[in-house]
């Protein structure tokens, strides 16, 4: 192959690679980009009704209820302002507990209940998912004076 044809060859290879990459990205990302919503955003109607998304916040203390002898679990996720009930069937991750941060993936039902397919575990119990940390409405000294 001459240097010129070789260059052409390389350019074609790169073009094919790049266009395949872009196509793949667009195809794959449509369904796979999960948006994150806090309970306040969900109650304000910002969350989609027709597709999956992620909800995050703190598990309200005392809200964890299970139907005895089955895998069905209900708990409430709050951002200290609004709350959304969540239903999940399956094993909870080890690091799940009341009063701690949680992220769940699923869909919003007509009833306003969030049906979770997956409740996420984090490797470290003291770790707060950044999305959750940002969405929490922490009582600050400034707000106390309001």
């Amino acid at each position: 192959m001459t240097p010129r044809r070789k260059r052409l060859f390389a350019v074609i290879a790169i073009l094919v690679g790049v266009s395949a990459g872009v196509t793949l990205f667009l195809l794959a990302s449509r369904e796979n980009l999960l948006y994150f919503y806090s309970p306040t955003q969900i109650l304000a109607g910002e969350a989609p009704r027709d597709r999956a998304f992620r909800i995050g916040g703190l598990v309200t203390t005392g809200s964890l209820k299970r139907t005895d002898g089955t895998l069905e679990i209900r708990f409430v996720v709050t951002d200290n302002r609004e709350s959304v009930p969540v239903r999940y069937t399956g094993l909870l991750p080890d690091l799940f507990s009341e009063g701690k941060g949680v992220i769940a993936r699923g869909r919003l039902a007509e009833s306003g209940e969030f049906i979770a397919d997956e409740v996420l575990a984090k490797h470290d119990e003291n770790y707060m998912p950044p999305e959750v940390a940002a969405s929490l409405h922490m009582p600050t000294p400034a707000r106390k004076t309001e």
Partner: protein, 650 residues
Amino acid sequence: MIPEIGHFALILALLLAIAQAFFGLAGAARGQVAWMQAARSAVAGQAVFIALAFGALTSAFIRKDFSVLYVATNSNSELPIFYRIAAVWGAHEGSLLLWALCLSGWTLAVTALSTSLQAAFRSRVIGILGLISIGFLLFMLTTSNPFERLVPAAVEGRDLNPLLQDFALTIHPPILYLGYVGFSVAFAFACATLIEGRLDSTWARWTRPWTIAAWIFLTVGISLGSWWAYYELGWGGWWFWDPVENASFMPWLAGTALIHSLAVTEKRGLFKSWTLLLAVSAFSLSLLGTFLVRSGVLVSVHAFATDPARGLFILGFLTCVIGGALLLYAWRAPRLKSAAGFELAARESFLLFNNAFLVAALGLILLGTLYPLFMDALNLGKISVGPPYFNMVFMVPMLPLLLLLGIGMHATWKRSHLQPLRNRLIGIAAVALVIALVAGAAVYGHIRPMATLGFALAFWVMGSSLMIPLSRLRARQALPGAVLGMSIAHFGAGLVTLGITGVQSFKIEQDVALAVGEATTIAGYDFRLAALRQVQGPNFVGVEADVLISSDGKTITTLHPQKRLYNSGGNPMTEAGIEVGAARDLFVALGEDLGQGRWSLRLQYKPLIRYIWLGALLIALGGGIAGLDRRYRRVKAGETAMDAATEPSR
């Protein structure tokens, strides 16, 4: 006192790193032999002081010195000594120290083993490694000092994260880091080459064993991490496309592309600037990975808020290293011309496609990993990119890669001589397809297109890899390490494909609620919850279940999954029970007490999962055999003789 000695040793190491960088680079630029000698002495001195600092921190952990903040946060008096030592690198500060230790180890090795290199080039390599070391030591000393005192001292430590109290995870970070940091050698070689502006085949022959060594460590390190996640996290998954995993996988992809591209540069003098760019990229991605993981930037930019100084330093350092190297590349690389040509079906073409597909996968994974960060920074909403995205963008480039791999191994340099092998290759492909169809139908009961494709490619690659050593042995030809290593590594790649296809296509996972005495069936196996009992460990209490597994009335095994509660507090931890087999794993994780005497259990059937890790080990083994090829040693001996002959003229 000892922690202060450690701290002081780190400061001295930093000063020596500065000396190493300055004398290494300036000495080479000005041709000062004494300066170059000083740089080499600084390497040894730095290694001594970093080892001293590392020893001081280890001793603080062994002596349970809870007056050191880092020890108090990551250890506990009940923690067994083995894990107390492993806790040294269990969190941010200590793992940075381990990083620095690895770097000084590699630098020492390069300095000691590169006597046959041209003096100025060697000195530049040492100087660049010194620059990297400066960055790390400065980062540690200014933002993440592991020797910071806790006043007043804690009575008891907070304990090492229980998930990290595990054998695989104690050796996982050092091995992974040796891989990450090892790419710094290829990086330094590339930068030194760019400074000098010329590159010959000796350069590639020199860089190859170092790159392969680092790549082997990275391969083993990633496999260990995957294996650990499988049995320790209680989910039974072996890969999650978590940002942390991606951070280690991206340098691996770049490194894999690099060792293949280096082959072309060494043998044919082609792809020169591309090889240099890959060498720069592999280490840049390692840096990006290490730092982003440790600072938490990768999950979200918000993690900057936790320690703005740390994030800012990281950004600055990354900009200097990556930006500097790329600038150097843009300035100097056009000088390096590749002259030779090759035919379409020559080995060069196949290696070009290998690189194109690997880099495509790498780019798309990088995009998916960083995409949430950009979206958030631009206030376009908080998103996460799910595993299906990564599965797709990884799988699609890998399918043609594996297909071409089976042919490319047999291609010769420059000109194609594939014609005589055509019939045999078609034969292997046909047999692979038949086995894939039969295996899908007979073993798993149904034929799925993707599973068939995966199995067929796996058998195709394995068969094609075996063909080379078998035909050479039959013809009583010599089997050099490079050829044998290549065959073994590629056979391993086939095994990994087999494992991934099997487990992803035919796995069964089920969460169930069982009372003692009850049973359930998945994949033809009966799982009976036979008993539950309390257990007591050295630093935990827990509940253990006996899960009796049988098939067709024959008992296979009894698994003992546990739920542990560590004395240091915190959440319960799952210890899964796993029945290992050549054809499948059976996995049982114990959930929690559901009331009415029932417990939740996660039951999994994981066909062929072992071949993922077995294949990865073969890949590493193949790399090792190829890296130890006689050719590299012979070259060194030859060069030394040459250098000695030309010495007086310098």
